[in-house]
């Protein structure tokens, strides 16, 4: 009998990266289903294009990044390049691809989809070293790339039931009728169910919440980032509402919470473990960072919507949060003091920022 050398522990938990990825795919199904129901073939085609581009390009890049064995036989060399290619090299880009597609308006030209998906997978992921090495959220990077490079293509691509201001609820509040009149064309219940124009995956809060519940039950996403980003977002918007629309502050907060990509981002994008810090306090800080930047962009920025920007910006801070010199998994007094001060400062900035110091 042959014995094998191993070191302890000799048992492993019955979990895998594969399961985590597939869990995210399952959690995305309600959102995808809803977008196909709302936008039909438009949505399906864009999802498929994104999938093909991301999975295909990852496979090609993976092969190019791995050294082949020395052999005259082309087949053998080719095989050796894909020796380490696993199911995760398919599920992981598939997750990114679907999330990326969900960030797009349904009428966006196909080549813009191809460009964004290609940028995300090649520049934001494979150039950094592939799975586990990327520092930016792939879908967000792709979305920002086309958002900036192909900005013109986005005008008039948001498809909806009642096109009032030719854009999403958030553009309406900014350039259209303004709050609280937007509530007439975008009732809160419609926003919750997804009966509004907007990006394919972001419109139905209900579908997103179903996905969130699944992810949290399966523990495939960390609740800390979801809670801290949404709580920060709600708190700051509430403060802004207090100043701007003291009578309708609850409606204002709900309006912001249900519009744009904050819910989708909080559930599916911030929870991406690869681009998150790796400690409990770090994840709370990360969520606060994303939530507050989204609010700052929405209230003071040039864009109506900024989850992708907030995410990319926060990704840059992850190495800082994770810097081993101070990163710790314990909740220390410095963490509580630091976050409370930061939140108080943010509240002050928002409160005085929206209304002036008068």
């Amino acid at each position: 009998m042959q014995t094998i050398k191993q070191t302890s522990p000799y048992v492993r938990k019955d979990v895998s990266t594969k399961r985590m990825m597939i869990d995210v795919l399952i959690a995305l199904t309600p959102v995808v289903m809803f977008s196909i129901y709302r936008f039909g073939m438009d949505s399906l085609i864009r999802i498929l294009v994104s999938l093909v581009v991301m999975v295909g390009l990852e496979a090609i890049a993976f092969g190019m990044m791995h050294k082949p064995v020395k052999s005259d036989d082309f087949k053998e060399r080719f095989k050796s390049r894909y020796k380490d290619f696993t199911i995760n090299n398919i599920t992981a880009p598939a997750v990114s691809a679907i999330i990326f597609a969900m960030l797009l308006p349904s009428k966006l030209p196909i080549y813009a989809v191809v460009a964004g998906a290609g940028f995300g997978i090649i520049v934001a992921k494979m150039l950094f070293g592939g799975m586990g090495s990327n520092i930016f959220n792939i879908a967000a990077a792709g979305r920002i790339f086309i958002g900036l490079a192909l900005a013109d293509m986005f005008t008039g691509t948001y498809d909806g039931v009642d096109l009032i201001a030719g854009g999403t609820a958030l553009t309406a509040i900014r350039t259209g009728a303004g709050f609280p009149y937007t509530l007439n064309s975008y009732p809160l219940i419609d926003m919750f169910l997804g009966n509004i124009p907007g990006s394919m995956g972001e419109i139905s809060a209900l579908a997103i919440l179903i996905g969130m519940i699944y992810l949290l039950i399966r523990k495939s996403a960390d609740f800390r980032v979801i809670v801290s980003s949404l709580a920060t977002f709600t708190l700051l918007i509430f403060v802004a509402g207090l100043k701007l629309y003291p009578e309708q502050v609850v409606e204002y907060t709900l309006f912001h919470l249900l519009s744009g990509g904050i819910l989708f981002g909080a559930v599916f994008m911030i929870t991406d473990p690869v681009t998150s810090p790796t400690s409990r306090p770090g994840r709370w800080i990360y969520g606060i960072l994303v939530g507050s930047i989204v609010v700052l962009i929405r209230l003071f920025g040039a864009y109506p919507e900024g989850v992708a920007f907030a995410l990319i910006f926060s990704n840059m801070f992850v190495p800082l949060i994770d810097y081993p010199q101070w990163a710790t998994n314990k909740y220390k007094p410095a963490f509580f003091i630091g976050t409370s001060v930061a939140i108080l400062a943010l509240v002050a900035i928002v409160f005085f920022g929206v209304g002036g110091i008068a």
């Binding site: 014995t3 938990k13 081993p324």
Partner: protein, 432 residues
């Protein structure tokens, strides 16, 4: 997944149901002359000499750790041979041919209660030392060193948690011989001057709780209490046991006695009882064969039994064509050995035979499960990254020396990265 993992499948349920077979068939018994702590050793018997149970047959030498060797059967000394010991190293072993009479040596005499009452701390220490008692939980740390502490001891903890999966040695002892444990605890309390004794067991062991509480009614003069603590891993680690049983937080690396606590494994206490009352060294231990590569069985076997015999007695290995992993001890912290030619020593309580499982390492996805699960609060993933860049200062700063190598980080990793091994390498690298 992304959570703090504390429960691991413990695999004890099936083992508990199996009967414990008293294994007495071994013709030859083997006694390692050296051990991992005692690099040197000498025998004081000659080939052809007749020895009896409990007789001193040699000494393992190593300053503090010096300990006499005792024969566990009666019979003739027939020479030496090389076999593996608990640590997986090949060592010289003295062979005694069993005559199956088990005659006791003349020094083996019971002490009366009056004699025991008259024993001082020094007497206890010297008895324990003469009988070469060691920590039977796995550390094999000489018990006399623990007992001879000069600090004031308030409480003695009997650790019966046994949190490693697949081990039932302490469990079986607590169920079959609780009296020995309680008496041993009382002796340890007398020797150290402690007023209070605590027996820490897992919450789910209701039968043990009943059994111990029932026995304890006879000892109402003493302040002994059964404390039920959590079922999770690594609850048996003394610092966690004490924290959860007594609420005393002891920083890692500090001596328990400084905080007025002494912690013994329940088997060690039973051996103290046998040494003080009957003047016996450790003769037998419970040992179980488990895992999917062998017929599972529990034994009671003499120290010095060769593991090969036990394996043969259950019919050898299953599915010989599948490569196997042999583990001495539990599946989380046990020692990997390359063959079953192993001599049973004081701390051998389990042989696990596992069929080979292929584990493919995936890239780390920073899920932080290892960070959340680490019982000592260090960050395995950060240490791994620091080790990859050979950053010695950073590895030290991240507290690598706190690592107890419990194996949880490797256990929880969804990418199947062998973090525990990386921690060991990093520890070695940092201390270079």
């Amino acid at each position: 997944m992304i959570e703090k993992t504390r429960f691991i499948p413990d695999g004890k349920k099936e083992l508990k149901k199996l009967p414990i077979i008293n294994y007495t068939d071994s013709k030859y018994l083997y006694y390692p002359v050296t051990s991992s702590r005692c690099a040197d050793g000498e025998t004081c018997v000659r080939g052809g000499q007749f020895v009896k149970v409990g007789e001193v047959i040699g000494t393992r030498k190593g300053a503090f750790f010096e300990q006499p060797m005792h024969a566990t059967v009666s019979g003739e000394v027939v020479g030496t041979e090389k076999h593996m010991d608990q640590s997986g190293k090949s060592v010289d072993c003295l062979i005694v041919k069993n005559d199956f009479k088990y005659e006791l040596h003349k020094t083996i005499k019971d002490r009366t209660d009056e004699e025991i009452n008259a024993l001082t701390k020094e007497d206890f220490v010297s008895i324990v030392r003469e009988k070469s008692l060691v920590g039977l939980g796995g550390s094999a740390f000489p018990t006399y060193i623990k007992l001879s502490t000069k600090d004031k001891i308030d409480v003695v903890v009997a650790n019966g948690v046994e949190c490693e999966p697949n081990l039932i040695s302490d469990y079986a002892l607590m169920l079959t011989n609780p009296k020995a444990i309680i008496e041993g605890l009382i002796y340890a309390m007398k020797a150290s001057g402690a007023k209070k004794g605590i027996i820490a067991i897992k919450k789910k062991y209701k039968e043990i709780d009943e059994r111990l509480s029932f026995e304890l009614r006879e000892y109402s003069d003493y302040d002994i209490e059964v404390v039920k603590i959590g079922n999770f891993y690594p609850q048996g680690w003394e610092i966690l046991t004490i924290k959860n049983a007594l609420g005393i937080k002891i920083p890692q690396g500090e001596l328990l006695s400084k905080y007025g606590v002494l912690n013994f494994n329940v088997s060690t206490l039973a051996s103290i009882f046998a040494a003080v009352k009957h003047n016996l060294p450790v003769l037998e231990r419970y040992i179980s064969l488990s895992g999917d590569g062998i017929t599972n069985q529990n034994f009671r076997a003499r120290i010095g039994t060769l593991m090969t015999e036990l394996v043969e007695s259950v019919g050898g290995y299953k599915d010989i064509e599948i490569p196997k992993v042999l583990i001495l001890g539990g599946p989380m912290m046990g020692v990997n050995v390359s063959q079953d030619d192993i001599v049973m020593t004081h701390t051998t309580t389990s042989l696990i035979v596992q069929n080979q499982v292929d584990l493919h390492e995936e890239p780390c996805i920073h899920c932080a499960s290892c960070v959340y699960s680490c019982p000592v609060g260090i960050q395995p993933v950060q240490i791994m990254n620091a080790y990859k860049t050979r950053d010695k200062d950073m590895i030290k700063h991240l507290g690598i020396n706190k690592c107890i190598e419990c194996g949880l980080c490797s256990f929880v990793c969804p990418s199947k990265i062998h973090l525990t091994e990386t921690m060991r390498k990093a520890k070695r690298f940092a201390s270079k």
